[in-house]
């Protein structure tokens, strides 16, 4: 086992996770504040930060059978607009609220759309199953049981941990991006927060299995 130090981890961070070096600048909280005052550029920046990743993430969450019917792009874009429009309600809270709220909003919307799609006769006969049990690409990759085990443990965490793990594990943002999104003072601090939230998640998963 290598002796890992904080600095070594830092170097791995920059090498392994710094996917978007052009993502340098304002924190998400500041952008949200500006967007709330009607600043179009801030809104655009929020969109460019979240939309591409969110769309790819959502595609992995939507059952394959439903993807021919549901337009993931429109769905995610709608959700994002709705969340940003509700800025008044969330802007003064914890910085993790925005991503956590975003995740929930998109998941709800995906669920609704999948359910709606399954009501169509052709869809149901094609899938041969109800929407809740229809496997998403994620289910197919890691197995439905593991996906559910992970999801249940994630929901038991507090909103801040949920948000940071959503950004890190699911959106695969770099620590630099996470630092901006979660108002962390440095990339290193973001990394530490991710790791600690991740360990809490692992403990939740372990405890759930033991009980």
């Amino acid at each position: 086992m290598e002796n890992l130090s904080s600095s070594e981890n830092q170097s791995r961070d920059s090498a392994a996770r710094n996917r978007s070096p052009d993502w340098i600048g304002e924190s998400t909280r500041s952008l949200l504040d500006r967007a709330q005052t009607g600043d179009e550029k801030a809104l655009e920046e929020i969109f460019s930060r979240y939309l591409p990743r969110l769309m790819r993430w959502a595609t992995g969450r939507l059952p394959r059978a439903a993807r021919d019917i549901v337009d993931t792009g429109d769905l995610v874009q709608d959700s994002l607009i709705k969340v940003v429009r509700s800025l008044d309600g969330i802007r003064d809270r914890n910085p993790g609220t925005f991503p956590a709220y975003l995740r929930k909003a998109v998941l709800n919307r995906l669920h609704d759309e999948a359910r709606r799609a399954s009501r169509r006769p052709d869809m149901k006969s094609l899938a041969g199953t109800e929407p809740d049990s229809m496997p998403s690409p994620l289910d197919e990759t890691i197995g439905h049981d593991l996906a559910a085990h992970y999801e249940a443990a994630l929901l038991r965490l507090n909103a801040g941990d949920r948000a940071i793990l959503f950004l890190s594990i699911e959106m695969r943002m770099s620590y630099h991006e996470i630092a901006k999104a979660m108002d962390k003072p440095s990339d290193d601090a973001a990394r530490m927060a991710v790791v600690r939230a991740g360990i809490r998640l692992a403990r939740e998963m372990r405890d759930a299995r033991e009980t």
Binding site: S6, E8, N9, R12, T59, T72, Q77, T141, M205
Partner: protein, 667 residues
């Protein structure tokens, strides 16, 4: 910020998908099991995030992101090769602003985790091999569904192309090439790595003559079920490779023997139309001796090839170093009658070459007054008149290593060339003492291997105790390690040999780091007065007065040094920035840091010097990556971290100290 073991283990899970951490015994197993599950969730999302989104309504930003040819941390530029193993691309590593070759492997195992583990572990192992004749591996990982390894980008021609286009090489040229490859193999074998695919196509010769062994043992394409493919190309495969899946260093030595055979003849000792033919030829002992293939070659070369190609592995050279020694002896036998070079007599039979050498040394002594380019030209002329003139090679090696020390050349590139030049000198004259002083310097400032450095200096002292540079450089090495009294003893011994400003400067440095700042400052002052136009001596004086408690005297010599060097010396600029920061003139200091960044776009600039003002400004976001790059590029100035006063408090910060400790620079 410190990490618990659990956190460190989990961090690895998050950052490096596929790396196994099961060997963490103190992390409880149920938790590790959940971490592994989370890693699978991460891998699934990673794949999803790297998959281009085909859904309707994709935004322009998304499209841009999807089509950007990046494979973190690299920007892919162009495809430059393809083989059964996969594809090779020319790429750029923006963070370090360097070109690299990126090789993607085709999956050869069903298990992604197993293959990831193979590639990454092998990459890590190879990354530890630092040798000028071995392509440097920079990194390996699994990302976006691809197994990749990135390495030094070599511009040159393969030996196969050279022989095909220009015909077989002379005995001496072939032996020189193989001697370099022996050194490469020795370095690999010492690191526990077998190459397993040595052939003319896997060796590049750069335009400046550097020979580089490519395609290291990343033999991912090799199917381990088929023993005959253990050694890649069957024409180069040792007979035992057709019988057993076991690999050994003797297999590499055999292949190198075939390569030597090929270089001088353009042919192979054992041939066949098919794999079975070659196998059968080995079985039947049907090989063509080099003597019959190419009569007239020196006997010593024929014996070497014969020994390397012995059917019984036990009868071959036992090690690559033994192979190299045999080549060295053979080369001396071949070269001497033509050049009459002998250490026992005159260092060269060519008086003109010797004059060039002496002139080169004169300019080398003015190395801090732009003497190095002139010195290089003199040594180049000396070598062109007498290619086996060992001392001229040493002079050239000294110039290259000092250019690298001062970052006029990138340390990795420059020190590699310096070492190659020094080793060439040693080949021409194994008894040469001066070359060990050079190697001692390289070991200290590039390898950071202080024990090896000391070994070289001691050897140099033993062979030629009157050589002044040994005393000076050994003193600096001892001083950097806190061995102040021994350092002073070397200064004393060296003073009579070279009573110049340089030994004065060395003495000043040694005294200064030993804590005798008050005694050191007058010496720095004298060196600066002796050579008033030296940016270096003025900078040293500024440094000494500032850190020696005479702060009010520091700025003037620093500004003078800036003026002399026209702001091109990063050491001076960084020191002045330091002074400005501590005298509440941060705006001007910021201007200087920006100047360093601009300078870095024009020529190599020490990462260390770029880092230092940011540390003073407490900007970890800036200095963290620069420290990382300084270590990665093996910035020579890091060798001085230990005694430099201003770092003492920073060494309590793990962000600063841990990488240095890992690099062996501080205890």
């Amino acid at each position: 910020m410190t990490w618990t073991l659990t956190e460190a283990v989990f961090a690895r899970r998050i950052d490096a998908v596929g790396i196994d951490v099961d060997e963490a015994p103190s992390v409880e197993q149920p938790l590790l099991q959940e971490m592994r599950l989370i890693a699978r969730v991460i891998a699934a999302h990673e794949e999803r995030q790297q998959t281009p989104d085909k859904s309707k309504g994709t935004s322009a930003t998304d499209n841009q992101a999807d089509h950007r040819e990046t494979w973190d941390p690299l920007v892919i530029l162009e495809k430059i090769g393809e083989g059964t193993f996969g594809e090779v691309f020319r790429a750029r590593e923006p963070r370090l602003d360097r070109q690299v070759a990126l090789k993607f492997f085709r999956p050869y195992k069903l298990s992604v985790s197993q293959m990831t583990s193979d590639v990454i572990e092998e990459g890590r192992l190879l990354a530890r091999v630092h040798h000028p004749n071995v392509v440097s591996i920079y990194g390996a990982k699994y990302l976006n569904g691809k197994f990749g390894i990135w390495m030094e980008f070599i511009e040159g021609t393969t030996l196969e192309d050279i022989v095909t286009e220009q015909g077989p090489r002379s005995a001496i040229e072939a032996m020189e090439i193989c001697r370099d490859l022996c050194q490469a193999l020795a370095a690999l074998h010492a690191a526990g790595v077998l190459h397993r695919d040595i052939k003319a196509r896997n060796v590049m010769r750069e335009h400046d003559g550097r020979v580089v062994l490519m395609d290291l043992g990343i033999s991912c394409e090799i199917d381990h079920e088929i023993p005959v493919r253990q050694y890649g190309t069957p024409l180069y495969a040792a007979p035992e490779a057709f019988l057993s899946a076991e690999s050994s260093p003797q297999g590499d030595i055999y292949s190198l023997g075939v390569l030597l055979y090929f270089l001088v003849s353009g042919r192979y000792p054992v041939t066949g139309a098919t794999l079975a033919d070659i196998h059968a030829a080995h079985e039947a002992g049907r090989s063509v001796s080099l003597a019959s293939e190419h009569p007239g070659l020196p006997n010593s070369l024929l014996h070497i090839v014969e020994k390397a190609l012995a059917t019984n592995p036990a009868e071959r050279f036992k090690t690559a170093s033994e192979f190299k020694e045999a080549l060295n002896k053979a080369m001396v036998e071949v070269v001497r009658p033509h050049h009459g070079s002998s250490r026992a007599g005159s260092p060269t039979g060519d008086r003109q070459a010797y004059n060039h050498y002496l002139q080169g040394r004169h300019f080398f002594n003015q190395r801090y007054q732009n003497g190095l380019p002139k010195a290089i030209e003199c040594f180049r002329q000396a070598i062109s008149r007498d290619p086996s003139f060992a001392l001229a090679h040493v002079g050239m090696a000294d110039c290259l290593s000092h250019l690298s020390y001062q970052n006029y050349l990138r340390p990795r590139e420059g020190f590699a060339k310096a070492r190659a030049m020094a080793e060439r000198a040693l080949d021409f004259d194994p008894e040469l003492g001066e070359v060990h002083a050079t190697l001692g310097w390289i070991s200290m400032f590039f390898d950071w291997d202080f024990a090896a450095s000391e070994e070289h200096f001691r050897q140099a002292l033993q062979i030629c105790p009157q050589y002044p540079l040994t005393r000076q450089w050994y003193a600096l090495m001892l001083s950097s390690r806190g061995r102040d009294e021994e350092a002073m003893a070397e200064v004393e011994a060296g003073r009579d040999l070279d009573p110049s400003s340089l030994i004065m400067s060395v003495e000043a440095v040694v005294l200064f780091f030993a804590g005798y700042q008050r005694e050191a400052i007058p010496l720095f002052q004298m060196a600066a007065e002796t050579e008033p136009d030296s940016w270096y001596h003025n900078t040293q004086l500024g440094m000494a007065t500032w850190f020696g408690g005479q702060r009010e005297l520091a700025e003037a010599p620093l500004r003078k040094a800036i003026q002399i060097s026209k702001g091109s010396e990063a050491y001076t600029v960084a020191l002045l920035a330091h002074v400005l920061i501590h005298t509440h003139r941060k705006d001007e200091a910021h201007g200087l840091t920006e100047h360093l960044d601009t300078l870095a776009h024009q020529r190599p600039v020490s990462y260390y010097h770029r880092m230092t003002p940011w540390i003073e400004l407490d900007r970890y976001d800036k200095w963290g990556p620069l420290l990382e790059s300084a270590i990665e590029e093996r910035d020579s100035f890091l060798s001085w971290i230990r005694p430099i006063i201003c770092w003492k408090e920073w060494l309590a910060d793990p962000r600063f100290a841990d990488p240095l400790r890992k690099a062996g620079l501080v205890e």
